[in-house]
Symmetry: D2
Subunit: 336 residues, 4 copies
Amino acid sequence: MIIALKKGIRAEEQAHLLQWLENQGVRTHISEGEFQTIIGLVGDTTRIDMDLIRGLEFVDNVTRISEPFKKANRKFHPEDTVVRVKNCTAAFGGGNFGLIAGPCSVESEAQVETIARAVKASGASVLRGGAFKPRTSPYDFQGLHEEGIRILSEVKKLTGLPIITEIMDISHLPLFEDVDIIQVGARNMQNFELLKELGRTDKPILLKRGLANNIKELLMSAEYIMAGGNEQVILCERGVRTFETYTRNTLDLSAVAVLHELSHLPVVVDPSHATGAARYVKPMALAAAACGADGLMIEVHNDPPHALCDGPQSLTPEQFADVAKAVGKIREAITQ
Amino acid sequence: MIIALKKGIRAEEQAHLLQWLENQGVRTHISEGEFQTIIGLVGDTTRIDMDLIRGLEFVDNVTRISEPFKKANRKFHPEDTVVRVKNCTAAFGGGNFGLIAGPCSVESEAQVETIARAVKASGASVLRGGAFKPRTSPYDFQGLHEEGIRILSEVKKLTGLPIITEIMDISHLPLFEDVDIIQVGARNMQNFELLKELGRTDKPILLKRGLANNIKELLMSAEYIMAGGNEQVILCERGVRTFETYTRNTLDLSAVAVLHELSHLPVVVDPSHATGAARYVKPMALAAAACGADGLMIEVHNDPPHALCDGPQSLTPEQFADVAKAVGKIREAITQ
Amino acid sequence: MIIALKKGIRAEEQAHLLQWLENQGVRTHISEGEFQTIIGLVGDTTRIDMDLIRGLEFVDNVTRISEPFKKANRKFHPEDTVVRVKNCTAAFGGGNFGLIAGPCSVESEAQVETIARAVKASGASVLRGGAFKPRTSPYDFQGLHEEGIRILSEVKKLTGLPIITEIMDISHLPLFEDVDIIQVGARNMQNFELLKELGRTDKPILLKRGLANNIKELLMSAEYIMAGGNEQVILCERGVRTFETYTRNTLDLSAVAVLHELSHLPVVVDPSHATGAARYVKPMALAAAACGADGLMIEVHNDPPHALCDGPQSLTPEQFADVAKAVGKIREAITQ
Amino acid sequence: MIIALKKGIRAEEQAHLLQWLENQGVRTHISEGEFQTIIGLVGDTTRIDMDLIRGLEFVDNVTRISEPFKKANRKFHPEDTVVRVKNCTAAFGGGNFGLIAGPCSVESEAQVETIARAVKASGASVLRGGAFKPRTSPYDFQGLHEEGIRILSEVKKLTGLPIITEIMDISHLPLFEDVDIIQVGARNMQNFELLKELGRTDKPILLKRGLANNIKELLMSAEYIMAGGNEQVILCERGVRTFETYTRNTLDLSAVAVLHELSHLPVVVDPSHATGAARYVKPMALAAAACGADGLMIEVHNDPPHALCDGPQSLTPEQFADVAKAVGKIREAITQ
């Protein structure tokens, strides 16, 4: 970390700052320039709060040279992390590609079972389905809650597919006992109390990037979970907010490459939520596979035109089969 | 709501859609154009889920003509709502201007008391102080928690100033019994489970706009609280994320004018968090007062240079006194 | 186009508006709702200025149902446009894939020739090179200007590769006689006077999307060129501004799919400028090919580490050969 | 400027970089840290191209400690610049407040004269009017061009008000002989060839901030003009693009405070274009005055409801008179 001081800082202010920094466990190097004095910090600066220092009247600016995340950082953990789901073959990262598919919302056991059997036949390794739904309007459908999770568990028993579903509040955690991967949605990416609690569980966590959050913030949120002891985090790129309106959000595929460089954690892409339209899912799924994603999360519904909830962005099981096959070809092409 | 259908929609699909819409309790008007068929919805469309419809393959686009919020909507509630704090004179809206001031984080009773007495003397009507702090890094200071709230309550008894502090999780709600106004931070603006729970309390809620959320989303989040029965919501503009880096966020003061037009709820501005720098707080506080804000929320610390936490954006009590006086002059100028 | 009027509009205002609309050559359909009166416009609304209408005091909102672009619109021109470069085999669109490669800035004839021969051998069909460089700072290198174009022309003669280079001002147009494709940079995407002038030329134009412009605006700028008579426009996605800082911009690959749906024009992707880092160029080039781009534009330099200008985002000729080969495999995989 | 090198850089690479830097005229200080080597640059780093260095494979990151603008920089020019219009009293900066008013588009001499006389009576010191209009669609009205400027000149003679109008292309410069202040629109803020040319004129330039440009980029564009010799630049904040849709853009009033800190140039605010709605112009004009703007630029039309072009955001002369009076009161309140 580099701290540039303003011209005219008083000696006692500078001494006070240096003292405080040393107390934080880092060593300081001072270089007096013609126009500016610069303090370099050496040691573990992860725990130094940049905002605190930037706020000081006599500080001109502060730059972090090393990243503020540690457990998620590839520098300290060069090997890819492989996140495996217990008692099944699903795995993400280190060459393992996971295909997560299922309906946006759980509607009924029959619906979920039909979809689960179809996507499993096409190669999906994890079943998704929303039980708790974050909706912008209090008047929109909020999900089946407990009943939704019960249905997913039932279908898991019937099909052998492990299940993933979203958590929206700490108090719901007991309901997730049977859930194999817990999903944190984009709007909760910085619900720090929730992240801390998930850090105390022993289940894989799929952490979605917030709509206006950058890659560093995503990794800092992963760090919250990992700092609690749970290192099985799957990162998920699902589009960010931009000025574009033809797609719901803008899928940031370069994030896949950047995350693989900065972190050892697996990266999954969700083209369904990112684009918000079924017709864009295939091209984006292929693109995600081509740039090295460790998995995909795709919405599939057995009857999108009649399912007024999943319609817009859900594939039919037939379309999913086609996408899964095409993704397979892309993966072959990049690993030849 | 207006639904534009794609050319070539089949008769049965159109009939199915119309049936479904009528079942939602709205009436439909169809107008067949040269290039496009358009369905107009009449009645209470608040509960119609636009995304559901937009997702249908044969729908070209959907436009909401009336706003999706109801209880927060000035159309149905033309008079300004005045949010009053129990057992004291603090009030927001309808000509009442509230001045909230205090430290970013609660550090000690002595600190909070000193600041509280100073800001009260300068005209502050509510004391703020952070007990639970949302931080991007798990390694940054997270607040004093229960002890922080205890200190605030103590100072409330000593000074008579009502208190406001931020809630980060539903499970903490019992700790907030003595708190007069509960604050929902920007990162939790769409923590819908939390909003629902706060809708069941009888305390005023100060709801901060999310960093990348628009005005409609802010009002929809207010609607979540109000739909639960609690209509005492104070909206708070605290800056949005833009490409600007000289300020922490970009204060959107036109939001004050827009919110006053769309909603009857009071609007408070937080120039401290928006700008992230003490030297910009005064000009932004004056600007907020000039464009009609119903209150201000300002960070004040008795010793910013030594308080390594509040430094960057906190005013000294003396600076706060100066700002409060200047704000008073602006309010006189606009109400003359 | 749909115009929703405010409640309480006076009869004469409404009549005046209807008269004005009819004078613009469109027919109007009025539907009086319970809460709102809605005017539907039928006919060619391309020339109706939405902003004018939105500004009227008694108008609540205006929605365009059909797109405001016409010549670029696939609805009126369902077949893919193929943009071909005269006297050579380079072509974009309709199944033709064009590979544009070369240095960011033209430095010397020897440099350009070396790179041109290398990229041609790897499959590039067009040579790029900057002669006029738009730089944020007046103190940064601005390009070789006329001399740069002379060098490109010379190398074109030597290698047979057609050339593309950026124009920054109308007055430079005479210098571009020998240039095969004229590039309009992101910062000039809305330099409307320049676009109009290029509409009067008979050369293919590669139009880059502006850093904060959406897809509709890109197509409206293409429309400016096409309205002048020049329909050979190649659209170029080169990343948009977001809050991400690890990459220079955020490559919006879903724009490829959206542009192919809305327009018949070919779409090229520039992963070099989008990411700003050589190490991200390959994954993004593969992703672009996988989602159906009609070409790529890639920076190549014979000696990136010593070329202090092109270094960051340029590939070596060897790296380019590797990318070109991998792109070929992806294209095979998606067209099998 | 601080350059952080990657671990494992080879000695010869480092030596090569140092040599190159010294050749650019700066001195280098090296500090070898545990994890990283850091190079500090001392001297005039304005001309060092950060992107060049950031692109080098062995560089981890580059930070500018001092600003890359010089002539616009308050550090080197502590006194406020006052931009005065020749042969009249209009002035901006250093305590001078300029009120620019007039129609969006010049329609006729009668129209412009009526408006000019009205706004002059209310205190306007400069008359604005668009002759060349940048429009997103080629089918929208593009202005009266030469005839528009002729009309403005005529009205200038009649009323004595100096005139400001927008330039869209270098080739139009000869038409601007009679124009007192030349405006560069938001879309041309980075039309560098145009800026360079304006740097060779001796007229004040009003430079509008681009829709997605940050403050540093605005100052770099001012630097382009000033580097050419013309130091009479008025900066204009006119809103930036955000995710908000109720207002056309988001007026960034904190930019006024930041620009006043970083630069000695005067800052004018345009609430009409920023908000796009007449009803928000007054609150934003008052806010701009309250935070210290050196002037306002406001659209006024004699008959907004019938002027289908200026309607949405134009004030009537009566409304303008009211705003001007209220602005005067705010200016008194802040200077008491």
